[in-house]
């Protein structure tokens, strides 16, 4: 075996998976996982751990895998993360743990994400009990939002003996894990549901259908329902539109709407009542992971799909793996292209999108080269559906209804990055609600820090 080379992982063939919603990556077998784990050098000073936002003892769990002690491996991960089956699948490991793996200097880094996923899947299939908690301490914490930040914060506090209730606005817990990321990347009924069940097994209560700011306010939680502290992990779910003519035509959707219909409401399944519209030719505007998810979903619903992005391939914010998968499945990339108008037919349905060609100019403050429209380059992309995937911002519902909760100029809740402390006493916040749209694992890291800060505050009270 070549130590510098990864054990390859099986995937559904592109032409097959482009027609179903089954998971693309099939995961390691026990043999493959043990082999891949044996590549790890078990560094004395492991750099991989420093780049994991929840600081998982990576060499620790990998050594257990190498020794076929899968249950022990699961227990090591459980000390740090409540959502390993999710993170093993959706974390951008190439810029986190795996980016610092020593083997990566000369060869391919250890497949840490795939090994984490293997351990999590194995422990689910073998019903490993990971729900050890300290005795109840009688203190109550309310967590707003059941996405990655909220689930992590709630899980960590429950382990410390707190009585935790999560309030979720939608009818299912999981946040972006259930409404945003599609089945073919993150299976809902097996993976997501099981990890949420694990959080519940720690004693965490989840109340769905409660909208903070409408059904009840943060102030009421503290004053009337006697919670000792509140953690806000409400995410960034408000979609952006371009503000170009024709955006309200029939057939134009936000990626959030399109993905919610398909993932949360299961519109792709015959027996579910929620309808979904996907035309013959779809343009997805944007280049992030959400754009890839929307494009690959539309493809699976039978459309020809174009990604329309104003910069070039090198600037695509989506993970390289996702772009690669999308291309393999047949998504067409129209790069350096920017929509200026959506054109409707006589009944108000989309019949085309006017675009301009772009070129890259000077670098802006963020270091990325700014795209500039090429004069006279207008052309019509002949599409009947447009999905806008331009990013999201935090929902104003909570901060507009909470006395003394401050926000920054990007309408994100103002909170200390290390302690999650907000401008309001006993109220903490983290994840996308504070940073704006980011990643699952960063939200989990924020939930973890908040749990620690809440624990310290309440212990000293």
């Amino acid at each position: 075996m070549d130590r510098m080379k990864r054990i390859p992982i099986k995937e559904q063939a592109p032409e097959v998976r482009a027609k179903n919603f089954e998971e693309v990556c099939l995961g390691y077998t026990e043999e493959e996982a043990v082999k891949e784990a044996s590549r790890c050098l078990n560094c004395k000073n492991p750099q991989c751990v420093t780049k994991c936002p929840v600081s998982i003892d990576i060499p620790g769990f990998i050594q257990h895998v190498k020794n076929r002690e899968f249950e022990e491996a699961a227990k090591v991960i459980a000390k740090y993360s409540s959502l390993p089956a999710v993170c093993g699948r959706v974390c951008p490991q190439e810029v986190q743990c795996e980016s610092k793996c020593v083997l990566g200097i000369k060869g391919e880094p250890v497949a840490i994400g795939k090994l984490e996923r293997f351990v999590a899947d194995w422990s689910r299939e073998h019903n490993v009990n990971l729900s050890e908690t300290k005795p109840k301490n009688g203190k109550r914490v309310a967590v707003i939002g059941s996405g990655p930040a909220g689930l992590t914060c709630a899980g960590d506090l429950a382990k410390e003996g707190y009585d935790v209730t999560i309030f979720e606005a939608l009818h299912k817990a999981g946040g972006v894990l259930v409404y945003g990321i599609p089945e073919f990347r993150l299976p809902k009924d097996t993976v997501v549901k099981h990890e949420i069940e694990n959080v519940k097994k720690l004693g965490v209560k989840i109340e769905t259908n409660v909208i903070i700011g409408r059904t009840i306010t943060v102030d009421q939680l503290l004053q009337e329902e006697n919670f000792d502290a509140v953690f806000i992990g409400s995410g960034a779910g408000l979609p952006k539109f371009m503000g170009i003519p024709g955006e309200n035509l029939n057939g134009v959707f936000s990626a959030n709407e399109f993905l919610t219909r398909n993932n949360l409401m299961k519109a792709f399944k015959e027996e579910y009542a929620t309808p979904i519209k996907v035309g013959k030719k779809v343009a997805v505007v944007g280049g992030g992971n959400v754009a890839m998810d929307a494009a690959r979903t539309a493809l699976r619903l039978g459309a020809e799909v174009h990604i329309v992005y104003r910069r070039s391939e090198a600037e695509l914010p989506a993970r390289v793996e996702e772009v690669h998968h999308a291309k393999e499945e047949g998504v067409i990339f129209d790069l350096l292209t920017n929509p200026v108008e959506i054109i409707g037919d006589e009944n108000g349905w989309v019949k085309g999108m006017k675009c301009v060609k772009m070129e890259l100019g000077e670098a802006d403050e963020s270091g990325r080269r700014r795209p500039v429209a090429i004069e006279g380059s207008e052309f019509i992309l002949d599409v009947d559906t447009v999905i806008m995937s331009l990013g999201t911002s935090p929902n104003p519902l909570i901060y507009t209804t909470t006395e003394g909760l401050k926000i920054n100029n990007r309408k994100c809740i103002l909170a200390d990055e290390e302690t999650a402390v907000t401008s309001k006493e006993r109220v903490y916040a983290g994840g996308d609600a504070v940073t704006g749209a980011a990643t699952v694992i960063l939200a989990m890291g924020a939930g973890k820090k908040a749990a620690k800060a809440i624990d310290e505050m309440l212990k000293n009270k």
Binding site: F241, S254, T274, P275
Partner: protein
Amino acid sequence: MFKIVEKRQLAPQIFLMDIEAPRVAKSAKPGQFVIIRLDEEGERIPLTICDYDIEKGTVTIVIQAIGCSTRKLMDYEKGDFIYDFVGPLGQASEFIHEEIEELKKKNILFVAGGVGTAPVYPQVKWLNKHGVKADVIIGARTKELLILEEEMKEVAGNVYPATDDGTYGFNGRVTDLILDLVNKQGKKYDLVVAIGPMIMMKFVCKVTEELGIKTIVSLNPIMVDGTGMCGACRVTVGGKTYFACVDGPEFDGHKVDFDEAMRRSAMYKKEEQECMNK
């Protein structure tokens, strides 16, 4: 799970239900709505709040069987459960933030069309509780479809029923009745609140614009989450895009792009028809 504690038929295909939802009942205000989901395979549909009782912890909804989900809900009985019931959603009616003394000086006319009478009721009731008597037009296609007249009489100033076919009350459309009240009977109104089918609201706004009366409408676009995360319910008001679920559902009727709103409402007509034929 949310229990149906009362069910009553108001008209053919129109039912009233009291749902046990204490958190929603406690926070509900006139003008707001809820979203419900019947079962695991169900879709999320918005329904206006008709009444709420904090002591009993119940919220009253009125449903007309016009689509797949509402038709299915009609068969639910007292004691049955629906999976999800979330709210209250949207902004409360603007007038609840006004000074009561200022409100008392105003003459307000509500124009309710069909099942739109249900969301008018809590607004008129709220005003009555604060010493303001509003006039109400209740319009329907025909006599047997006219709902909540007795309930409305208890809380309103004058109640004017109207039927398109003249089988009861005023003979004609609600717009004709508005003109009749103002031009022939010499009524003066400072504010009109119109809630009903989109086409009715559009024509009420045309009439009140000519009469120079400020008009509020409650829009009912397609919704999914109802919390502002998808924009399915976006509407154009005064040239700007708003999400009806968080910015509304009530807007200045004279600024609403009704033609766009009606076109967007028909987006899933084909799918809805297929579902009804199943």
